[in-house]
Amino acid sequence: MQATAEVGHLETSTGLDHRKLLMWLFLASECLFFGGFIATYLLYRNRSAGPPFPADTTVNGVRYEGVLDIPFTSVSSFVLLMSSLAMVLALAAIQRGDRRGTQIWLLATAFLGISFLAGQAFEFTEFYRGGLTLSTNLFGTTFFVLTGFHGAHVSIGVLILLSLYVMAAQGRLRREQSLNVELAGLYWHFVDVVWIVIFTLVYLLQA
């Protein structure tokens, strides 16, 4: 039964595994999910009535310092990019039957994901101390909703990665089940490409 389930996808009408097809369909829908939030952020960009502002801004002769910390977020972005590398190395390891390598790279990916989340938690805390909340102004609302939902996706990805690590450590993740790691990887890389877009549009394209 197990063997049938593992090779059953070869008999589908498309010749493709339905789970992988479904994952891509899900990712296509996620494009619109994040596209909506990004469009909203851009629509309300530079329309906040009062501070805090994302970048240095002068209003009625009063200069307000921007809250976005580009150097710090650049490091976070680099950490997330490198987590994608760790993820594909985990996939390569399981595809060649390297159990120890799979565990190491899965754990490394999860660790880098947690590091990114820690950075985001620090950033949110700093913003809160600086007077920026979800309801302070249009920037606060659109920024926290966009990056918050992205952070939620990263959190879910970390949970999936840790689950896969536990399965691998218990010997329940074998080479024949490498598709499980590939699907988790697709989700993880998607979260990464969304951040690539967010980093440019929200952080680098400041007024």
């Binding site: 996808h9 070869l10 498309t14 010749g15 493709l16 595994d17 992988k20 097809l21 891509w24 369909l25 990712l27 296509a28 829908s29 996620e30 494009c31 619109l32 596209g35 909506g36 469009a39 851009l42 629509l43 960009r45 530079n46 580009i70 650049s74 972005s77 680099f78 990019l81 490198m82 994608s84 590398l85 993820m87 594909v88 190395l89 996939l91 390569a92 595809q95 490498s178 590939e182 990887g185 697709l186 890389h189 998607f190 990464d192 490409v193 690539i196 877009v197 440019t200 549009l201 680098l204 394209l205």
Partner: protein, 158 residues
Amino acid sequence: MLELAPVVLAPGVKGFFENPGYLLGTPLVILGVIGVLIALSPLEIRWPQRREIAVAERETKLEEVAEGHPDPAEYVRVALGLGVLELLELVVFYFDALGDSALAFLLLLTVLQFALVAMWFMHLRFDSRLFSMLFVGGLILVAALFMIVLASLGASLV
């Protein structure tokens, strides 16, 4: 739907470069059109693929296709490329090296990073075209969303 056309086209050339709806939507539409042409082409035009992977895919043996994924060294090279592109983004941002062209250059670097991750790490370059079609379909819908919502409501990046 037709009533939207004058609104979307109204900003003209100047508006094109100031409005994120056009700036972000146009590359996505171009990407989408190319993707659809590739997907529907009877000539079996496809993403650039290694010869052995194309052969494996024709035989619809998924295991063989999976074995055609890049080796770890190639993944590391792609990751290095991503790092360099991010570094370039920061150089453009901090040194304002390109003046008015900086906006377009930053968007170009973002598209390159996006494409590297999607084609190598997500294996779109090596996997079935159907996956590319699904993903590009999502991007086309995002492009439509950007162009209609942002263009008609007058958002601005500059």
